[in-house]
């Protein structure tokens, strides 16, 4: 398979504590977002942060893996909802580390039962490129369930 390249950039002005940056999606142009250290570690105040971008990356990576696993099992999904929560913490002398990524997934997949959905979620965690990487510093947990009766999102 070909190598796919995606690029983003940030321009940062001023010191880390009082300065601010703008992070841009160079490849797609899909976003240009302000970020500051205060909004990264404290109240976001409408600004994104590296951890939030990783949460968006992991959720969007995991959802495609889960969809693939369900299709492989012969029960392709109609709809999947995935939430990712990334936690950064101070770990003793190591300083700030990304310590966990929690995945919460649910959805509808005709013909699939709870056990099959849980199995697909486990396989998705094993196969998702982002899950594999972030395990270098973080604990990845996956909680998954099939929606009961119908395709209502939440």
């Amino acid at each position: 398979m070909p190598r796919i390249v995606r690029e983003a950039e940030i321009a940062w002005e001023g010191t880390v504590s009082r300065g601010a940056g703008t992070v841009r999606a160079v490849s797609s142009g899909a976003f240009a977002l302000p970020t500051t250290i205060a909004s990264r570690v404290g109240d976001p105040e409408g600004k994104t942060s590296p951890e939030e971008l990783l949460a968006a990356a992991h959720a969007s990576c995991f959802v495609t893996s889960l969809g693939s696993e369900l299709a492989r099992a012969g029960t392709p999904p109609e709809r999947l909802d995935v939430r990712c929560v990334i936690t950064m913490d101070e770990v003793g002398e190591l300083g700030h580390r990304i310590v966990s990524s929690e995945i919460h997934a649910h959805g509808t997949a005709p013909g699939c039962d709870q056990a099959g959905f849980a199995q697909a979620a486990e396989a998705a965690d094993a196969g998702c490129p982002f899950s594999a990487l972030i395990k270098a510093s973080a604990t990845v947990t996956v909680e998954a369930h099939l929606d009961e009766g119908g395709d209502d999102g939440d």
Binding site: R6, A11, W12, S28, F31, I37, E52, E78, H96
Partner: protein
């Protein structure tokens, strides 16, 4: 104190013919943003972001904050830093490479000092630590 950040994604239909949306994030700064497999795995993005582009954005932002902090600690705070991150993805294999390119305007600091600070930021920023499993993280300074 621990900091949590959240994102929500919905996917409808199959991998190849369906599509997803990054519906919202905790800060409200992103979304809704569409994502599809084709726009992720082909050269052409058609204006849609992807997990790899979001990782690039996270890494560039985290690296810049770490570098800004390191420079300030050393007594030479930057007036401006520009960082780009490029993430390579090989479907079926995974994320194979990140290239960080950084330039900056740092009063009172020479090129060697800037390079040293950038190497430190590359090693120590939390996203670099989280991506330690990437086979190659390359830094270009200047």
């Amino acid at each position: 104190m621990a900091t949590e950040r959240t994102a929500d994604v919905t996917w409808n239909g199959s991998l190849l013919e369906g599509g997803g949306t990054i519906d919202r994030v905790g800060s409200g700064a992103i979304g809704p943003l569409e994502v599809t497999w084709a726009d992720r795995a082909e050269e052409e993005t058609r204006g849609r972001t992807s997990p790899e582009e979001l990782i690039a954005a996270a890494h560039a932002a985290c690296f810049s904050m770490a570098l800004s902090h390191g420079l300030a600690e050393a007594g030479t705070p930057p007036s401006e830093l520009k960082t780009s991150a490029t993430v390579s993805f090989v479907p079926g294999t995974g994320i194979t490479k990140v290239v960080l390119r950084v330039s900056g305007d740092v009063p009172g600091l020479d090129d060697a000092g800037f390079r040293e600070a950038a190497e430190g930021a590359k090693v120590n920023c939390p996203v670099s630590k989280a991506l330690a499993g990437v086979p190659e993280i390359q830094l270009e300074v200047g």
